[in-house]
């Protein structure tokens, strides 16, 4: 591993820290900025993923669809106040083609409701591709694969 590899690993670790920091701090308006314009985003379960089924619980094929998701959460959808705490680990660069890379990472999300009730809301992994664009790394494709097929109550805040 040369110095460039190490720098790249730090950049990617930093990106994931920023990404989950944005979600956990409820700064959702910044969330679409982590993606390229034509980004694809999908949340699915391991069961669907392993069966090759294409369904997404949240399914977007553009950055504007992510903006719309945030607008809907802010203006239209009704859900109880809640916050996520992401724990991200085992970030791995599985393919490196210079300006484009593919990563895998594990995550755990603890969800805390307004009354203080805390649950392990989700665990799983992300399978992402990114490219370097003006100012930093952006997601071209983010696939969130949940270990469980069950969602407790509802899935409002993105992952």
């Amino acid at each position: 591993m040369d110095l460039a590899d190490i720098v790249r690993r730090f950049e990617i670790a930093e990106l994931y820290a920023d990404y989950v920091g944005c979600l956990d701090a409820d700064e959702l308006e910044r969330w679409p900025d982590f993606f390229v314009d034509e980004a694809a985003y999908r949340i699915t379960s391991a069961e669907n993923y392993e069966a090759g089924l294409p369904l997404g619980l949240i399914y977007a094929t553009s950055r504007n669809m992510l903006k719309d998701r945030v607008a809907a959460l802010r203006e239209a959808n009704i859900y109880e106040p809640q916050r996520y705490r992401h724990l991200v680990s085992a970030i791995k660069i599985v393919k490196d083609e210079g300006e484009a890379i593919a990563t895998t990472a594990n995550f755990l999300i603890v969800r805390t409701m307004q009354d203080g009730d805390m649950t392990v809301f989700a665990a799983g992994r992300t399978l992402d591709t990114l490219r370097h664009e003006a100012g930093g790394w952006k997601f071209i494709n983010k696939l969130v694969v949940l270990d469980s097929r069950q969602i407790d109550t509802l899935l409002a805040i993105p992952m």
Binding site: G56, Y59, D68, R149
Partner: protein
């Protein structure tokens, strides 16, 4: 079975249904563990048909999957004879689960505990060490395999959907569903279903609160503001609700393109607080629905008593199965469908429109939460009642959606089965 439940359960004090009939629902039916136990016995193991699987889930002999009748675990198989069978997933020996996996393929069904082996129709084929070892032990000579099979369900199919019932009294499936609702199921499931994906939502409420929500056409325009906020459809559009004679099944529908009074609708919309000028989706392409069903119906939400929902919202098609998991817990299974005949563009459209429904759905997210809100709110008020007078007191079909007739219909079907 139900009488035995009553005796051993000590079902007291009896629930007295209010004199207003189905226009009132005692909150206790959503909280009382004794009522819940009676529902499992009388509704879920009683004379009702419940969805178990898609025929397409079991293409080959030996394919199996598991599901539930109420809380009772069920195995559904494709037998060697090509027919679909369903049995209680409980070994006739000592009550162990026979199938441990949610789905799989097997030549026979063998209990892991003592290797009692059943064929794919649930008939007991062999018992390990039945003749004992070296002349000792073994089953008594009078033990007969044919008296110890898995408990079998009656099974029937409708529009590719497999239903099961444990009661010999349940009418034939097509008569149970009836022509009115049957035609509306065929309308949606007009081709060969293909599963696009599944998920499951855990709701912290009694199962009937979700069923009420599905049958409640009145809330859709009020709780779910996605369409109004983004000025995507007019809730004043033509629509109505069809209700089966039994009251138990319903189909609500609307035709967004047909608005009988556009001027009045404009006026109504202008006053809505959630409306904002120039507030539009940045990328509304995912809502580019196509006319698929030939009747301009943009949404049809249908229920088959007691716990199946068949949904069409634009081109998003899904089955929802409402499974009770205790007086205040429900599992909502989602099966998102397309058709084998779909082209790539139609599949892409269905996947994009799936954003509207499910646990993260733009128009159904709230349904996951509202039942839990009610469950919390009615604590300590179990002797009080909800009010269901929108649209009057009856449970008949109507050409408006500002009615709770289909919710009353559910209770009309529920009460005699429960003895309330």
């Amino acid at each position: 079975m139900s009488e035995r439940t009553e005796q051993s359960g000590g079902f007291t004090p009896a629930l007295r249904w209010p004199s207003e009939g189905e226009a009132r629902v005692p909150y206790r039916v959503f909280t009382d563990p004794e009522i819940y136990r009676r529902e499992l016995a009388r509704l879920f193991l009683g004379p009702t048909w419940q969805f178990l699987a898609l025929e397409r889930d079991l293409p080959e002999p030996g394919d199996y999957l598991t599901n539930f009748l109420g809380e009772t675990p069920i195995i559904v198989t494709r037998g060697k004879d090509g027919a679909i069978h369903a049995m209680v997933n409980r070994c006739a020996h000592r009550g162990n689960l026979v199938c441990l996996k949610r789905r799989g393929h097997a030549d026979d069904l063998t209990c892991v505990y003592h290797a009692w082996r059943y064929d794919l129709a649930g008939n007991l084929e062999s018992v390990a060490f039945r003749r004992g070892i070296q002349g000792k032990g073994g089953m008594p000579p009078g033990f007969r395999l044919d008296q110890h099979g898995l408990k079998k369900l009656r099974v029937d199919s409708f529009a590719g959907l497999v239903f099961g019932t444990l009661s010999p009294e349940t009418p034939p499936l097509s008569a149970y569903i009836g022509n009115l609702i049957g035609a509306r199921i065929h309308r949606v499931l007009y081709a060969t279903p293909k599963v696009l994906g599944t998920t499951s939502q855990i709701l912290h409420n009694n199962w009937k609160l979700y069923v009420e929500n599905v049958k409640d056409t009145y809330h859709a325009t009020l709780l779910h503001t996605f369409f109004t906020t983004f000025r995507l459809s007019r809730l004043t559009a033509e629509g109505g609700v069809d209700i089966a004679e039994s009251g138990g099944h319903h189909a609500s529908y609307n035709r967004n393109k047909r608005d009988p009074d556009p001027a009045g609708s404009d006026k109504l919309y202008a006053g809505m607080p959630s409306m904002r000028e120039n507030f539009r989706l940045a990328d509304p392409r995912f809502l580019d629905g196509v006319e698929e069903f030939g009747d301009d119906t943009t949404t049809q939400i249908l229920s088959v008593f007691p716990n199946l929902v068949v949904q069409q919202i634009q081109n998003s098609i899904a089955l929802r199965l409402v499974l009770p998991k205790g007086p205040d817990k429900t599992e909502l299974q989602w099966i998102y469908l397309g058709f084998e005949e779909d082209d790539a563009a139609m599949t892409a459209r269905r996947l994009a429109q799936a954003n509207l429904v499910g646990p993260a759905g733009y128009v159904s997210m709230e349904d996951g939460a509202v039942g839990g809100f009610i469950q919390r709110a009615i604590k300590g008020s179990e002797e009080e009642c909800s009010v269901l007078e929108m649209g009057g007191f009856d449970h008949v079909s109507d050409n408006t959606r500002t009615t709770e007739a289909s919710v009353r219909g559910f209770w009309h079907a529920y009460r005699p089965l429960m003895g309330f």
